[in-house]
């Protein structure tokens, strides 16, 4: 285990109550141009955020100067998604000025909690990928490491989910509509991004081949910086988000052009590139625009990274010694081709030199196991959008295949498998292969996932370059997911073992002995109950009354077949039928809590949402089930809602089909907040089990190896489960009947087809009985309050390895080679 840096938690300057009060009043008057009495709640939030931002900016400038003086290697984290959620509370906590700010606002007659909760989420991501990126940025700043996020400033983030008669309705989330106080525009650092056009083959003045990229359109990438403050307030890095704009010249032409409307249409088209965040599970939607977005991110980021490098260094051959670029999945993989283009076309490096620099600089994180989920782009589309990059990719591929032929002569099958170009119809560029070829390090995000990359996803690449493959298990920010999300538990822990855990999470281990302390257990239970009461009040807004003494069984994450919300519904219906038909009461009253968004156009996931609502409506209104079972779907799952749900969870549902979840981070958040896991041996849940002890969680189901075996043709026979097990049969029959859809008969017939199909890739029926048995044990354990609380405390105490601080330190040591400035430099 890597030790975290000791954080010097000196308060930031000018953070007294009086100075904060003065700053808030000043921003009300001079930034917003308002009198206090006329302020709207949003304007008050903006004024407080600006007062907070002032203090962050001061430290950001200091931080940059510190890095510059130390000539430190920088890390640039390229991600198509960032999902920070709300910033105000987090920033005040990390700056160490939340109490002062609260007092300043009380003096002004306002309430900080209310203001914090009024902040709209920054939802520039769909789920785990973007949230991971946000947690890593928090850790980079907390550890004092020079690391920056680069992304897209989507005008419309992830859609807002509303529920209409059980159906998901997607509403646009124009989060930038009223502006955001966190961003600082940097028009002086705008970059020109050429796109489309054609290659004109010519010779240069020395007679060499000179492909010229002609007739391109131009996009302007305008950066907006969001300061990222680390805990202790000593380091403030930034997240740089790019908006696409048409060029100034283009804007001017609109006023001079004869065809005004055509000109305006073209302007709008170029600005569309950063308009909307795409969901991950909607095949075909906005296909070409998505590629343009990926290129736009790679081009803006690389242009800026090289510009920043050249401010202090002359020779691009040294780039890898001073810069590390991490690709968060394949979406920014065009960065490999873009960096090669810059080095060869603009910096005049020879191919081999440029390739060595690129590989020394770039690293790639894989986030998916399913081959069908790996990104591919048609060659013809790449040629249309980025013709020069396609040329470079083809040359990278030619050299790669030459190398493979040299190592393993005569293996045409191997060449076909490893090629960056898939010889399909149409031909496609495999972005993961491009990313792997161009990187010095390739990592998976949990141990089982990394092994799967080596053995099944990219075994040929692993054989060629075994030293390039690493595992870096994902992590979560303890500041966001305990200190901020669960202040009462954080205070209880701090009172028991001190506050060093905030920046050194393995110190939570010291809590283990408190599991045997009955007074502590009582306090721990009281904290959990208070969190559950709070969540119960949120649930009551849906007109569902739940008992906080019930077991809160929480399944919150993107709605997807592999995450198996359907399996959870099977268990609910099984419990309900056992109660009303067999008279068998559950071991403990339970509230089943779901939340999550389904990608627009993903029919199955949308149907699962409808099913959960309909099952809930029947059960919640059945007096026979009244005190035993409640089913709740909380709409519009987002970071700020997760911060309410996670601290209130008793049971954490991590029930993906084994071998499908790369890591998961919801599993970590829940365990850190004392939820006990019921789960399959999948992703990081395996490592959580090792850390917290098998006796402190409930494991069930097929293993990844068993799932692989069951996927062999004609192996899986769901009908046998159906015919052999009357509970399985009853649940399937009832779910497919009209019991839960009397107003829309036959609505859920798909359930039977889905689970009785030998092609059910998620083995619902194979895992059902094992899941139901594990749930039975959960119910019994929850009924023994002391035993359950001990398990819960031990989950908290042993979640230390899952801090994103550990994740970042492993990346820094094994892949990036970045270090924090020495303390002497920091204190100058």
């Amino acid at each position: 285990m890597i030790a975290a840096n000791t954080i010097d938690a000196r308060p930031v300057p000018a953070c007294s109550v009086a100075s904060l009060q003065e700053a808030i009043e000043r921003h009300v008057r001079y930034s917003l141009g308002k009198l206090w009495r006329d302020l709207s709640p949003r304007e008050l939030f903006v004024a407080v955020a600006l007062a907070c931002r002032d203090r962050m900016v001061e430290r950001m400038l200091e931080t940059e100067e510190r890095y510059r003086r130390g000539d430190l290697k920088r890390l640039y984290y390229l991600s198509i998604e960032f999902l920070p959620g709300q910033y105000l509370g987090n920033n005040l906590l990390n700056l160490g000025i939340r109490e002062q700010c609260g007092e300043a606002l009380r003096n002004l007659g306002a309430d900080l909690d209310e203001i914090e909760s009024s902040e709209p989420d920054l939802a520039l991501g769909n789920g785990g990928l973007g949230r991971l990126a946000a947690c890593l940025l928090d850790s980079l700043a907390t550890l004092g490491l020079p690391g920056y996020g680069y992304g897209i400033n989507y005008e419309y983030g992830l859609f807002k989910q509303e529920i209409d008669r059980g159906y998901q309705r997607e509403k646009p989330e124009n989060w930038l509509g009223q502006g955001t106080p966190w961003q600082i525009a940097r028009p002086d650092k705008a970059c020109v991004v050429p796109i489309r056009g054609r290659i004109e083959h010519s010779v240069d003045r020395r007679g060499g081949y000179n492909p010229m990229w002609m007739d391109w359109k131009v996009l302007m990438g305008i950066p907006y910086d969001v300061p990222i403050v680390g805990f202790g307030g000593q380091t403030v890095n930034f997240l740089r988000l790019y908006s696409a704009r048409s060029s100034h010249g283009f804007d001017m032409r609109i006023f001079n052009a004869g065809d005004y409307f055509k000109a305006v249409e073209q302007k709008i088209a170029s600005e569309t590139v950063s308009k909307v965040l795409y969901p991950p599970d909607a095949p075909g939607a906005g296909y070409e625009l998505r590629l343009a977005q990926e290129y736009f991110l790679a081009a803006c980021a690389l242009r800026d990274i090289v510009r920043r490098f050249e401010q202090g260094h002359k020779d691009c051959r040294d780039l890898g010694a001073h810069v590390a670029i991490q690709l968060n999945d394949t979406h920014p993989a065009l960065a490999v081709a873009e960096l090669m283009r810059i080095l060869i076309d603009e910096k005049n490096l020879e191919w081999d030199e440029a390739w060595a620099v690129t590989q020394a600089t770039v690293a790639y994180t894989n986030h998916t196991l399913a081959p069908e989920a790996l990104e591919k782009w048609p060659v013809a589309l790449l040629e249309a959008v980025v013709p020069r990059h396609l040329q470079i990719i083809l040359e990278i591929n030619r050299r790669l295949l030459d190398r493979v032929s040299g190592v393993w002569p005569g293996h045409t099958g191997l060449l076909r498998r490893m090629s960056i170009i898939e010889e399909s119809e149409p031909k496609q560029v495999r972005m993961a292969h491009l990313a792997m070829a161009g990187s010095h390090a390739i990592n998976g995000v949990s141990r089982i996932h990394t092994e799967a990359i080596k053995t099944s996803l990219a075994p040929d690449y692993f054989e060629l370059w075994p030293d390039r493959f690493h595992n870096v298990t994902n992590g979560i920010s303890p500041r966001r997911w305990l200190l901020r999300a669960n202040p009462a538990l954080a205070a209880l822990i701090t009172a028991a073992i001190g506050d060093a855990w905030i920046t050194d999470l393995p110190r939570l281990k010291a809590l283990e002995r408190y599991a045997e302390d009955s007074a502590f257990r009582t306090e721990f239970r009281a904290v959990k109950r208070a969190n559950k009461e709070k969540l119960a009040r949120i649930i009551q807004e849906l007109h569902i009354r739940v008992d906080p003494d019930s077991l809160f069984d929480v399944h919150v994450k993107r709605i997807h077949a592999y995450k198996r919300q359907l399996l959870n519904v099977f268990h609910i219906v099984d419990e309900y039928l056992a109660l009303i038909e067999d008279g068998r009461q559950p071991a403990a009253p339970r509230v089943y809590i779901f939340a999550g968004k389904a990608a627009p156009g993903y029919w199955f996931a949308q149907q699962v949402i409808k099913l959960i609502h309909n099952v809930g409506r029947v059960i919640n209104t059945d007096p026979r089930a009244h005190s035993w079972i409640k089913v709740v779907f909380l709409p519009d799952y987002r970071v700020s809602l997760a911060e309410q749900i996670v601290p209130a969870a008793d049971l954490s549902e991590q029930i993906s089909t084994a071998g499908t979840e790369a890591s998961g981070t919801g599993n970590m958040k829940m365990a850190l907040n004392g939820a006990v896991t019921i789960g399959t041996l999948d992703g990081a849940t395996i490592e959580i089990r090792e850390a917290v002890g098998a006796e402190n969680m409930f494991v069930f189901g097929l293993t990844a190896a068993q799932v692989r075996a069951a996927r062999e043709p004609c192996t899986y026979r769901p009908w046998e489960h159906y015919e052999r097990d009357p509970r399985v049969k009853r649940v399937v029959d009832v779910l497919s009947s009209n019991l839960f859809c009397s107003e829309e008969p036959a609505l859920f017939e798909w359930v039977r087809k889905c689970v009785l199909n030998g092609n059910d890739e998620h083995f619902h029926l194979a895992d059902f009985r094992s899941y139901a048995d594990a749930q039975g044990k959960v119910g019994q354990s929850f009924g023994e309050a002391d035993r359950w609380t001990r398990m819960s405390i031990l989950n908290v105490a042993r979640t230390g390895p899952f801090s994103s601080d550990r994740t970042v330190l492993e990346y820094a040591r094994d892949i990036w080679g970045v270090q924090a400035p020495s303390q002497s430099i920091a204190c100058k």
């Binding site: 020109v192 010519s202 003045r205 002609m214 131009v218 010249g249 032409r253």
Partner: protein, 118 residues
């Protein structure tokens, strides 16, 4: 587009009189500079005033060069801002043009080198 032409010996030095050379005015530049290209074989284009150039502007530069080289002449460029230089590098046009910091150097280069390279 009104262009000032400075004759230095047998070299015609033309200052491009716009801040932005793009799809909106590249055709105009090509049209208005055509008589200069017809009447001369040694031409310097002074881009000191130009702050932005898109692919149409770059295309116009290439067209001028090709017209001159077709008749064994040459075009030299000077006075490029960092941004315009960046646009040339972006598409590898800097590899086929002779580019000089100032007009005097560009004119001098004609006197020391034979023309007609492309």
């Amino acid at each position: 587009m009104e262009m000032a032409i400075d004759r230095i010996g047998d070299v015609a030095a033309v200052a491009v009189p716009v801040d932005e050379l793009d799809a909106g005015n590249a055709s105009e530049l090509k049209r208005d500079i055509a008589p200069v290209l017809q009447a001369n074989t040694k031409v310097v284009l002074d881009l000191s005033r130009v702050r932005f150039m898109d692919s149409s502007g770059l295309g116009a530069m290439l067209s001028c060069l090709r017209q001159l080289t077709a008749k064994k002449g040459d075009l030299k460029l000077c006075g490029m801002s960092k941004q315009v230089r960046g646009a040339f590098e972006l598409v590898r046009l800097h590899r086929i043009f002779d580019i000089y910091p100032g007009k005097a150097e560009a004119v001098l280069a004609f006197q020391s080198k034979p023309t007609g390279v492309l």
